[in-house]
């Protein structure tokens, strides 16, 4: 993959996406079993630059880097860099001065990763680990990896797969990245939400839009429920949690309406009883924990490809 950064799914070609997914699979095979660490990035330094709380994503990237034997520097700041008095630019330059070669950035500002990559502030490789409401490309890649592993007959081409994303599309970087990547791989994507939680302009996206979960659910091969933030109620996006759960919650008869081989996905963390019932989260069709495991593999692949590490050995070695 000839690129210095991973900023968004918009910039990926189909070949790029497949290369990342294939590399993740190769890494999966190499790290299978008890010996789980590879020496490919030994002596290299990766920085976790987290301006927004996200323990899960940070740990996933940290695990990925460590399994490739990279050194990891963690930076986390609650709230925005500006409210802390230090700018994004100064923070990034400081961490690069400490030896960082690749920065994994999580930030509440849409475009923060692209800004870091294109402003000339630093020379490091940049990986977007979620920027505002914009993108979360490694989440979409791990979702694609998970879908692929459950539908092997669609291994290199998702044409014919129908994937529903339900919930707060408006504020969701996961939805934006998935809509783009899954469509790129050939899938039909249906976004299901109340009109208040769909962005103006969504009609230009390469997806189908629906306001009605019940009319879509039986046609889906995978359904992804998005986390609903309770503060959305204050802005009148929907009247109450109860009404939201009734109209868009993945629960009850909707679970039984799913195809038998359909998978249930969620990027986490879940609000059980709101966008997904406990029954749905714990169902045999749920692949939510697989998504977490696959996240580490996909992030290993991204770090490996961007940093150009030594060839992947056929099996892991203890280092």
């Amino acid at each position: 993959m000839k690129r210095a950064h991973l900023l968004s799914t918009q910039e990926l070609t189909r070949a790029d996406a497949l290369e990342i997914l294939d590399t993740a699979r190769q890494l999966s095979r190499a790290t299978d079993g008890a010996i789980r660490k590879l020496p490919t990035l030994r002596g290299r330094t990766v920085v976790n630059l987290f301006f927004e709380d996200s323990t899960r994503t940070r740990l996933s990237f940290e695990a990925a880097a460590k399994r490739l034997s990279a050194d990891v520097i963690n930076f986390s700041a609650k709230g925005s860099s500006v409210s802390k008095g230090e700018s994004l630019k100064d923070t990034a330059q400081t961490l690069e001065a400490m030896g960082g070669e690749l920065m994994i950035i999580r930030h509440s500002a849409s475009g923060a990763a692209q800004r870091l990559a294109e402003s000339g502030w630093v020379k490091s490789h940049i990986v977007n680990a979620g920027d505002g409401m914009h993108e979360h490309p490694t989440q979409a890649l791990l979702d694609a990896f998970t879908i692929r592993s459950h539908f092997p007959e669609f291994d290199r081409d998702f044409t014919g797969l129908r994937i529903g994303i339900v919930g707060d599309i408006l504020h969701s970087r996961v939805a934006r990245s998935n809509a783009q990547l899954l469509t790129l791989l050939g899938a039909d994507v249906v976004l299901i939400a109340p009109p208040t939680l769909l962005p103006i302009g969504v009609d230009t996206w390469p997806v189908k839009i629906s306001y009605d979960l019940d009319s879509e659910i039986s046609s889906l091969d995978a359904i992804m429920a998005l986390r609903v933030q309770s503060e959305r109620m204050n802005d009148a996006f929907f009247p109450s949690e109860r009404e939201y759960a009734r109209e868009y919650g993945l629960a009850g008869s909707r679970l039984r309406a799913l195809k038998k081989n359909a998978i249930i996905m969620h990027p986490g963390p879940m609000n059980r009883g709101l966008e997904i019932s406990a029954e749905g989260a714990d169902s045999k069709q749920s692949v939510i924990l697989e998504q977490v495991a696959n996240g580490v593999l996909v992030r290993m692949a991204v770090l490996y490809l961007l940093m150009g590490g030594a060839p992947i050995p056929t099996e892991g070695v203890l280092v």
């Binding site: 918009q10 925005s80 700018s87 500002a109 475009g111 923060a112 800004r115 993108e135 934006r176 302009g201």
Partner: protein
Amino acid sequence: MSSADFLLRNVLTADQVRVDIEVVAGTISRIGGELTSPFPVVEGNQNLVLPGLVDLHTHLREPGKESSETVLSGSQAAVKGGYLALSAMANTSPVADTAGVVEQVARLGRDAGLCDVFPIGAVTVGLKGESLAELAAMAHSAAKVRIFSDDGNCVSDPLLMRRALEYVKSFGGVIAQHAQEPKLTSGAQMNEGVVSSRLGLKGWPAVAEESIIARDILMAQYVGSRLHICHLTTKGGVELVRWAKSQGMAVTAEVTPHHLLLTDELANSFDPVYKVNPPLRTQADVSALRAGLADGTIDIVATDHAPHPSEEKDCEWSAAAFGMVGLETALSVVVETMIDTGLMEWEKLVDRMSLAPAAIGGYEDHGAIAVGRPANFVVVNPKERWTVDRRTLQSKSSNTPFDGRSLPAKVVHAFYRGVQVLNDGQLTGSKYE
């Protein structure tokens, strides 16, 4: 220095008539073909002579943010861009909401001595939108304020807006409204549409601007007052103003150069140099604004010159300040978008950038080149192209969205009350005292 007497020789008026202009004691004494005069000659080289440009919307940042701009540095930038009258917006620190502050700004303008600086008074105390500022005190002060605006904020409270419109009638004032319904734009970052949907930046709907315009043109008509709409940006807004004018309502409107040229697609870069309030809109809006300016629906071009220090732009989009500098590029951008496209002739440009804004502001010394009037005019080479370089701008700030862009028309000379303040594109160091 006081004005030197001189003869400006061999220039073309906006309607392409070759003239000489004689200036005595800061006043135009004669205009005609092939004048003979005892005074020193300034050669015009068949360039255009235009009345000095008049800006009704300038952020000069003084008092309070002198690191971004001062009245002096803003006046210098103005002269380089062909402007000889500025209207200093009220969002300074302290806010220009008392006679004391507007008089201070006016005095700073006189001290700079490069162009006229007319303070704009705040409509509400501290721009807070809660209670009326002492508008009459500002009107009757030495600064003689006639334009009032909370620019940066909308006077969104309909009752307060009604009262302000009514109140300024007693001294012939005008309310310049920043049309932006705050509830619809809370946290907004860019135009709401196709681009914002993809970028995940909080959208700023056109209707937030249009709903206030609709409300205020109706209200101004109801109370019989003058309303000026700042920086119109949407197709729907142009339609509303066109309708209001067709009904004979006393509404005027402005458009900025950047909204005549740039679109929200530029946000794809996430470079906050393109972050501005109101936001860059779509190509359809740009086309409607150009048509509106050409047919007179939009009365004037105003720069909304908004200097910011580099640290407020050298950051992530949502942390960045809104605004662009524009005094030094305004004329060139209007030539590029309106004249070189065939939408307007130079005479109309003079109307939109000098005559009409002078009339709205009541700036009697500006807007025309005529015998007996103060010698406020500029000489422009319409053919010379130049490349904008943010590092060489005269303004203290360099947040121009046009960096690296080649634009037509270069300001060659500027004469303020007969004093040559710009010579061959360079500040002369002279000023009017």
